[in-house]
Symmetry: C2
């Protein structure tokens, strides 16, 4: 398997585009994105568990009921959530883009991201769909990745190439963060494209299984968004023997998908709102997988630890504290903790108590922008990883006045 | 019932003191506090649910096994947690102060607050106990309240006077916040004194019941501390007929206790780390008490809403979002939301969707330093309140480099 360029346009038959249609006041920032497959594609999706759901999610669920889709349209700048006419807007959006593309409205995945509870009008979409379709191109991934950004500071795109059944296959993805992100749902917006030939059922099975260890192990701020979804379209143009059951081909697909999703997870965490550092918590030695995940998530979610990481302060007591209140079944007196980055690795806690370490060395390690917090529970065989970011002045700044 | 001065020294027979003994480098800040009852008192306590527990909690639990205590000693600057010699230090502390006071070591409540996992020495205590006992006075509440402070910016003390059985009774308390505070345990350090005559069993019952609606409904940052406890000593010197069962006298005691604990909760929330505003979330119309509490806690815990409140931004979508992911059983389409402060009250959401409101008026309301977020679920008869604070630059600053 190898990483390649092209993002969501890397797979055969996919083009994309992004334009400014006027949902945002800032005319420099694109606010409407389109992904298009030249043939209908098997489609799978996972959605936020928040009871307050964006209208586009309801419409998308309906459209994916048959397991197929051909295009994704997504706007930023308004979440189309808690609006009395939200469903209507989402459905009209699908009709407009379907007519322009010459495909069926119920083959459209529709998504929105931005402020919740803001009135929304169909006008920017009416204006935007024609230039959006005209702009579709094999080089359109960058524009599409920009059009879905909210407080993100960098575009998030990835693609991998691999082989199934002697055929070259591709999976690519784009994502947008970067706040209101928390485990236990399909977090954020992620759109993945592939030319692999796979049944809708196996595609859904792959996605639902993968997110348990990827997007559901990612937290920026503990807030589970109303509009999150992850979708995969797989149009079959790689021409491999169709994957319709578990087996070696499915395993290869899962591995490639996981490479894409982990890469996007790390990109989203590293670009969390206001973040200066990507935090990864690697837990091993847990009694059960559930304990391993619970500990990893609790550590990356701790506001106190996140603030300490911002200050490059090796305050490992906060790691122990977060493990202690996580609810996981652990023996505190067996826990070892290390901090690691490309500047080195340092043990800070052994058997639940402090060990002497060089504060200078710790500072050097924690000043890097990717920090691994390594927790060995020394009490079993299960391990897990979770991703997050530090808590900074800029998180407060960004969220203190987001709407205006 | 009336509010009176004197804090923990207001009740008959209680004196207190606070000194600098050298646990902290900063010589201006007191770091050791003592509360003393001239006669043994019925004692009750609740403790953190964190599996990582400070050594003093273990020692205190042992000492309170018989239901009685006569003094409380508490240091700040070091949590005496995750130390190999923690129990030894806590026990030695009790022996030192007991000898100086001429009472039994197992009648001492011992507590510590500060950095976790820092080595601790008995020397500052050896030096401090004599001046601490010498300083005991009826005017010592201020000094004791200062000695337990960590990142708190203001001392937290309160006292109320009321009547039971024709006798004047008093309850007073001091508390320290102001980070690592989260629902579902006995949060923070709170020491309450009373001259009411009550059995240890009824005292414990009153405390355990009260905290469900007070300290367990308070969150600063989602981090459940390792060292939290709330203790009450009641020495009986008010000379009322001893409360040994439920009834009118017990009800009066509960009401007075609740006045003290709610006041301390609001003080702790308003002085949360970096906080500029006290947030109170008042939920009504819930199907069950559990739903009401779950919603109230979820709202005051949302980092996004806390940041919006700091910016006086009426971003009510974040309230809906936090209700939606809380796990409570709610009908989103019935929810009304208001913001209220002494500058006025404004409806921002009706039946789960936005209503037109004046942004200027909302700004004026949210610029005050005590904000009530009112949520009517319109779906039942249960209500609840939770307390928290805004998320600010200073929270990040304080916690980015707490140890150094």
């Amino acid at each position: 398997m190898k990483m390649i360029n092209g993002g969501i346009c890397a797979a055969k038959g996919f083009t994309a585009s992004g334009v400014h249609c006027g949902i945002r006041h800032n005319k420099i920032k694109k606010d409407l994105s389109l992904i298009y497959s030249e043939v209908p594609a098997a489609a799978a999706a996972v959605y936020t568990t928040n009871l307050v759901k964006g209208a586009p999610l309801t419409v998308t669920k309906d459209h994916l009921a048959d397991g197929y889709a051909q295009a994704v349209i997504c706007n930023s700048g308004n979440a189309n959530t808690c609006n009395s006419n939200g469903i209507e807007i989402a459905e009209q959006t699908c009709s407009l883009i379907a007519a322009e593309l010459g495909i069926k409205a119920d083959d459209i995945v529709v998504a929105s991201t931005g402020v919740i509870g803001q009135k929304m009008s169909i006008e920017p979409f009416e204006k935007g769909v024609k230039p959006l379709v005209n702009a579709l191109s094999k080089n359109g991934c960058d524009d599409a990745a920009e059009g879905i950004m909210t407080t993100d500071t960098v575009k998030k795109e990835v693609a991998v190439e691999f082989e199934i059944d002697g055929k070259i296959c591709t999976i690519g993805g784009i994502a947008k963060g970067s706040g209101m992100i928390h485990p236990n749902m399909a977090t954020m917006l992620v759109f993945i494209t592939s030319d692999v030939n796979i049944s809708p059922e196996m595609l859904q099975s792959a996605l639902s299984s993968d997110i348990q260890n990827t997007f559901n192990m990612l937290s920026i701020d503990g807030d589970t968004s109303t509009n999150d979804m992850v979708t995969v379209l797989a149009n079959g143009l790689a021409n491999n023997k169709k994957i319709t059951e578990k087996g070696d081909d499915f395993k290869i697909f899962m591995t490639a998908l996981n490479t894409v999703t982990v890469t996007l997870c790390r990109m989203i965490a590293g670009d969390g709102e206001g973040a200066t550092k990507l935090l990864e918590c690697s837990v091993s030695g847990a009694k059960t997988l559930c304990d391993a995940k619970t500990v990893a998530k609790s550590v990356v979610c701790s506001s106190l630890l996140k603030a300490a990481m911002f200050g490059a302060d090796a305050n490992w007591g906060r790691v122990l504290c977060a493990i202690g209140y996580s609810g996981a079944d652990v023996d505190v007196n067996k826990i070892d903790v290390y901090f690691e980055s490309k500047a080195g690795k340092i043990k800070v806690c052994e058997k639940g108590a402090g060990v002497d370490f060089s504060e200078d060395e710790a500072k050097k390690i924690l000043t890097e922008n990717e920090i691994d917090i390594i927790v060995d529970l020394n009490d079993g065989d299960f391990s897990s990883k979770a991703w997050g970011c530090d808590l900074t002045y800029d998180y407060v700044k960004i969220n203190g006045d987001y709407r205006t």
